[in-house]
């Protein structure tokens, strides 16, 4: 294992020397962010290789406006909120789901199926599933929408905040951050959409895209592959995660996602509105749409003053450059979502690297 690391380090060194400039690589997957921090990958890289954590954590990219819509639902007595655990501490303009927990109508679920089951067990209440996440969790939301439709469950609703990763990558390269030399492409998302999906980034923007799993050694090898391509001036699409990622991805998951959802323009925290980047329920499933059922507007939220999560997500600043980091904003009292999720960049910095 250490041989492979030494070899990768050598490739990275050579590339930096040949290029004569720093290399900036962005990962767009929260699990990569955590693995990189937890295993100390950064400490093994040449100083000129800079890693940026992009919009890869599902909680972190969720706009404040969406959180505020969730809060409105949590304040309704007829609603039971079913949410993934990470979401309960994300602060909206006025408190978080955790602060509403005393109402007894917020339930943490581990799967979309648990949320639908909650609706079956509570026929007298409107169960709203807080459906966030990228292409990794969207198919599971689609499955339960179809199930609910087939069973005729009338008290189950989905507040879709699902996001697509490719439009965000395109937005970043189209003027938000022109320092990004390449992407370390997400492992889990690629299982669904297939490694081939990133070919458009290579073609349109001439940036290397390398898919990797979560073993630290594979991550370092992916970074080495990226640096090799950059030095050679031949950006390519490559997957090192062949064990589970195919070129075409999970076609069944893609098709159920496409059947239930359609891409619409959507708000991302700090990245403003991105065209065709958010999944909304299709017309034939609109009876399950919580936005429609409860008359909620999908509007951009006000950003908390001083919170620079948006710039962190774009890779424009490092957490430590945010004046709130580790002062007002800590894992105990998070101000922005990047500090809440275990996969958030600020949380990872706080936990694993603050004093470095």
């Amino acid at each position: 294992m250490l041989d492979r690391i030494t070899h990768a380090q050598h490739t990275l060194d050579e590339a930096c020397t040949k290029l004569g400039r720093p290399i900036t690589i962005m990962e767009v997957c929260g699990t990569h962010t955590v693995s990189i921090f937890r295993s100390g990958v950064r400490s093994l890289l040449p100083e000129r290789v800079k890693l940026l954590s992009g919009p890869g954590c599902p909680v972190c990219v969720t706009d404040q406006g969406y959180i505020d819509a969730v809060m409105q639902l949590a304040d309704r007595e007829d609603c039971l909120i079913a949410t993934y655990g990470d979401m309960i501490r994300v602060p909206g303009s006025n408190g978080s789901l955790e602060t509403r927990a005393s109402h007894g109508n917020v339930k943490v679920v581990l799967s979309s199926e648990d949320a639908l089951q909650l609706a079956r067990e509570n026929p007298g209440r409107n169960v709203v599933f807080i459906a966030v996440g990228f292409e990794t969790t969207a198919p599971a939301s689609a499955v339960v929408v179809k199930e609910a439709a087939a069973e005729g469950v009338e008290n189950f609703f989905v507040l879709s905040g699902h996001k697509l990763v490719l439009p965000a990558m395109r937005a970043l390269l189209s003027g938000m951050n022109d320092r990004i030399d390449a992407f370390l492409c997400p492992g889990h998302v690629s299982v669904i959409i297939g490694s081939g999906a990133f070919a458009e980034i290579v073609e349109d923007y001439h940036r290397p895209c390398v898919v990797a799993g979560f073993e630290p050694v594979q991550i370092i090898e992916a970074l080495a592959e990226i640096s090799r391509q950059l030095a050679a001036g031949t950006p390519q699409l490559k997957s090192l995660y062949g064990a589970v990622v195919t070129e075409k991805g999970n076609v069944a998951a893609q098709s159920i996602m496409a059947e239930c959802f359609e891409p619409v323009d959507g708000y991302w925290r700090g990245l403003v509105k991105i065209a065709k980047s958010t999944l909304a329920l299709r017309r034939q499933y609109r009876q399950f749409d919580a936005f429609r059922r409860f008359g909620l507007a999908d509007e951009p939220g006000r950003n908390t003053s001083g919170c620079r999560c948006g710039e962190v997500l774009c890779g424009l600043i490092e957490p430590i450059q945010c004046p709130l980091f580790a002062t007002r904003c800590t894992p105990q009292t998070p101000v922005g979502p990047c500090m809440v999720s275990s996969e958030g960049t600020c949380s990872a910095w706080f936990k694993y690297g603050r004093r470095k």
Partner: protein, 339 residues
Amino acid sequence: MTAHPERILLAHGGGGQLMSRLIQERILPRFRNDTLSELADAARLALPSGDICFTTDSYVVKPLFFRGGDIGKLAVCGTVNDLAVSGSKPLALSLSLIIEEGFEFAVLDQILQSTADAARHNDVRIVTGDTKTVERGSADGIFINTAGIGVRLPGVDLGLSEVQVGDQVLLSGTIGDHGMTILSQREGIRFESQLESDCAGLAELTCSLFANVAGIRFMRDPTRGGLAATLNEVAEGSRLSVEIDERQIPVRPEVQAAADMLGFDVLNTANEGKFVAVVAPDTADECLRLCRDHALGRDAALIGAIVETRDAPLVELRTKIGGRRIVQMPYGRELPRIC
């Protein structure tokens, strides 16, 4: 007279006949000893001379029964371990039960039996106790408090002020077993696994170490907050840094897999049958050897050392791939992740 009720009634805590029968029929026979049988308002103990170590802990674990133990066993082992790592031989415990109205007698019996078994196994007596009942909804089944008394072993003087640069950090076995087991059996998360809690009393092992090895400077059981919390306490208390090597830290593969799946860090995960010791460099190997001779210490390892502090005392981990990172004091509760 009607047959015994199958469930706890509020009246069982009322001080009358029902309570008396509960104690006489279900509690005393299981814990019988001369001190307890007097049923005095306070237990009178004749103790060997020396410093007394005194501790208390409350147990509210959910679920009540888990692979490798239950709330009763935990309530004995947890308090025994607090005494053990303080350098004492545990002698006597109190046992207070707070029981929710409607709690099944059959379940109570099972818990009392395992409490008694754990006490016998750990060579401590339950010498005094209390039983309270609360209305349905005011407690989650049963809560247990135990307090314990031990006598400090002669010549043992533990403290973070004793810790010095060069000292070795010894861990008595695998980490994360208890925390991940509890999580795997919790409502809403439950998944199939072969995980088993490490819940066990450590006094026999620690007493033998204290009797046979010099140079043990500090010891603590890494329960809530796990190894990360304990080592951060060592760093803060000693004003020295701790450097540990991930490759030396024993973790069962199934525990690591469960932690990875849920996004938890095993370093932050609770243990209920392990200790961390800071030992002088010249006796560390001997301490490790003795530890491994005992069933509860056979996976023991030297996982790192106390080093000079550069700016602030911190815990640093050398990772499996040779990287370095800081191990922070865990904060509150970790949230299961989305994907």
